[in-house]
């Protein structure tokens, strides 16, 4: 499973030709072979999967047809795609977005064309480009999740990211990601369906994140990604009504950075060994670095990508420079241990 990539002659850290092979390549076991490198100086490993650099796109803020026009998406550490459900979902009514200081509030409601479409469209295209793909999985019930994971089991996706932060009708209207026992059962079931590296994406809207994180790890999760959005809303002072058709939505962007950092840090304190993907409010290399110091092995860029399509790649380059002067941290990342 070696990557057949050409060395980037310009030294831009970008490949000049896409590869059609799977992106999941463990670190080179045989140094000195003529295995071509990706041009990035500092990679990372998350749950056994090598990322070319520690920066990925965050689910729901990347779309290949949109972003692929702006940059070579295969240059990213990884691409986490929009949550896929067993069947196409319509999402929420509009307006779905509102502005807030240093951030946005969104209530898209997981509109997506479903896993079958994903398997014939976005996933093969991303793999053809040579991207490392994290497939984000959505569901309204345990069965939904199980169905999607089963369909993805022998797909070319490099990792699965189970989004347990959406409302789950199986568990009394609350998100399954807020109930440790329900979560333990769900992840255990998904674990039995697929042995693809499985990341569980956690909700910050909980009293005790450590309890939740432990439930996932105990059930067999290979890694955790956090945070998803915080519940929030804005109202229109002319009408007195909520701006979003869904009333409340999820807050993301720089405003949530300190909150996200503390979630990652608390989970890392409690679970020294689980790989963590840090997410929330990252818009520059320094932010990404802060997450690595808080205990993350890799990061994903969300809202910032909506304000400039190339933001995740810019963050990756900025982080690369910062890591150049931090060889110890860079080495830890290479070995898949951020702590």
């Amino acid at each position: 499973m070696m990557e057949s990539l050409q060395t980037d002659p310009a030294g831009t850290g970008m490949r000049s030709e896409a590869s059609g092979e799977e992106g999941r390549s463990p670190r080179a076991e045989t140094p000195g072979t003529d295995e071509p490198h990706t041009g990035w100086r500092h990679g990372t490993v998350v749950a056994g999967v090598r990322w070319k650099n520690p920066v990925g796109t965050a689910s729901g803020t990347f779309n290949l047809a949109a972003c692929g026009r702006y940059y070579d998406v295969s240059a990213m550490g990884a691409i986490s795609t929009k949550g896929v459900s067993p069947v196409p979902w319509e999402g929420n009514p509009t307006p779905r977005t509102a502005e807030t200081p240093c951030g946005t509030v969104n209530a898209v409601g997981l509109q997506n064309p479903g896993v079958e479409h994903y398997l014939i469209d976005e996933l093969p295209k991303l793999k053809a480009l040579g991207a490392t793909v994290v497939t984000n999985v959505a569901g309204h019930s345990d069965d939904d999740y199980a169905q999607v994971v089963a369909r993805l089991a022998d797909s070319p996706a490099d990792m699965l990211e189970i989004n347990v932060s959406c409302p789950n009708v199986s568990h009394g209207g609350m998100s399954v990601g807020t109930d440790p026992l329900a979560l333990f059962r769900l992840i255990g079931r998904l674990r039995s369906i697929s042995d693809k590296p499985m990341v569980v994406k956690l909700s910050p809207n909980v009293t005790d994140i450590v309890e939740i994180a432990k439930a996932c790890v105990d059930a067999g999760a290979d890694a955790l990604s956090l945070i998803n959005t915080l519940v929030g809303m804005r109202l229109d002072i002319n009408t007195g009504k909520p701006i979003l058709a869904n009333n409340t939505g999820g807050v993301s962007g720089p405003c949530i950075l300190p909150i996200a950092l503390s979630f990652v840090w608390r989970v890392r304190q409690a679970l020294p060994n689980i790989p963590i993907i840090g997410i929330g409010g990252i818009s520059k290399g320094e932010d990404a670095l802060e997450f690595l110091y808080a205990g993350a092995n890799a990061v994903e860029v969300g809202a910032a990508s909506l304000l400039d399509p190339v933001a995740p790649l810019r963050v990756a380059h900025e982080l690369e420079s910062l890591l150049d002067s931090r060889p110890q941290l860079a080495e830890k990342l290479e070995k898949g241990m951020a702590w």
Binding site: A10, G11, T12, G13, M14, R15, S16, E17, G60, T61, F62, N63, A65, A66, C67, G68, R69, Y70, Y71, D72, A75, K82, P88, E90, G91, T94, P95, R96, T97, A98, E99, P101, C102, G103, T104, N106, V108, Q111, N112, G253, P254, A303, S305, L306, L307, D308, P309, V310, L313, R314, H317
Partner: protein, 293 residues
């Protein structure tokens, strides 16, 4: 539909060109492989066209070279606490100068109305699918309020063509801020304000055969309606057009999270399901929207 830009780019990417992202100075000019991401542009002039309506000109060679009528650009305020894009239809292109015309309705448009020549502002675009003006036809530009600006650019482009005519039917709340500009480009301009009626009044009057058709049949005999305005007006225009067996293209508005197809915030229901206004639109045909009764 004008998806030429993106098609070309896709083809070029396959040829192995990449942007120089290490320098973060990404250019996708005609020879480049990728579209230009968010970038800074210089303000050339800002003036009040009518009370509460701003005429803003910025210098952007990339947008000028690539923008098609009906496409829009995102502006971003210079206040870093307000992060979201503000989409505006391109209203005119002259050389490298891009004209936008907008109403001051909130925080961002207020900021923009206060910009001065020499200031800089971030821009992303051109974005979306513009009007399809590929056919030889008489184009009837039906605009309402702040939906008129993108039609002015359509008129500007049609003026240069020998195989097309244009008739502008413009509805205003009060001040007829765009009539004089429209007259420079269009073969005929008729307008109305709320005290008299709306664009449907004008359609009935000038296309409905009641008052006589002031623009004649046009060079090709075919008539196509291009329209932009408030949502209810667009529906009414689509229905009127369909009732008169005239094809119509409607440019829609939506609250946008990104403006380039990533976030799925800006959807509109179509006969093929919920589509992104920013990428699949903002221009849709009445048939696509299922509005052609």
């Amino acid at each position: 539909m004008d998806t030429r830009e993106y098609g070309e780019v896709g083809a070029k990417r396959r040829q192995g060109k990449t942007m120089n992202s290490a320098s973060h100075d990404v250019h996708a000019d005609d020879g480049g492989a990728f579209l230009m991401p968010r970038h800074s542009a210089k303000i050339l002039s800002v003036r009040e066209l009518a009370p509460g309506i701003t005429h803003l000109v910025l210098e952007d060679a990339y947008v000028a070279r690539h923008a098609a009528a009906g496409q829009f650009i995102n502006l971003y305020t210079n206040d870093p606490t307000r992060m979201m894009p503000r989409p505006f239809g391109v209203s005119a292109v002259e050389g490298d100068a891009i004209t936008l015309i907008f109403a001051v309705v909130g925080s961002g448009t207020l900021d923009f109305s206060r910009l001065r020549a020499g200031d800089s502002i971030d821009v992303l675009g051109p974005l979306g699918r513009g009007f399809d003006m590929s056919r030889s036809a008489r184009y009837v530009l039906v605009g309402g309020g702040l939906g008129i600006p993108p039609l002015l650019y359509a008129a500007q482009q049609l003026m240069a063509r020998s195989d097309a005519d244009s008739l502008a039917l413009l509805g205003y709340r009060d001040i007829r801020y765009a009539d004089s500009t429209a007259s420079r480009y269009c073969d005929a301009v008729r307008s109305i304000d709320e005290s008299e009626g709306n664009v449907i009044t004008l359609l009935n009057r000038h296309l409905g055969g009641l008052d006589g058709d002031e623009c004649g049949e046009g060079k090709s005999g075919e008539t196509i309606i291009l329209s932009c305005g408030p949502h209810p007006m667009m529906k009414a225009v689509a229905q009127w057009a369909s009732a008169h067996a005239i094809p119509s293209q409607l440019s829609l508005e939506a609250r946008m999270g990104c403006g380039f197809g990533s976030c799925v915030a800006c959807v509109e229901d179509t006969v093929e399901g919920r589509k992104k206004v920013c990428m699949d639109g903002p221009v849709f045909t009445a048939d696509e929207l299922g509005w052609a009764v």
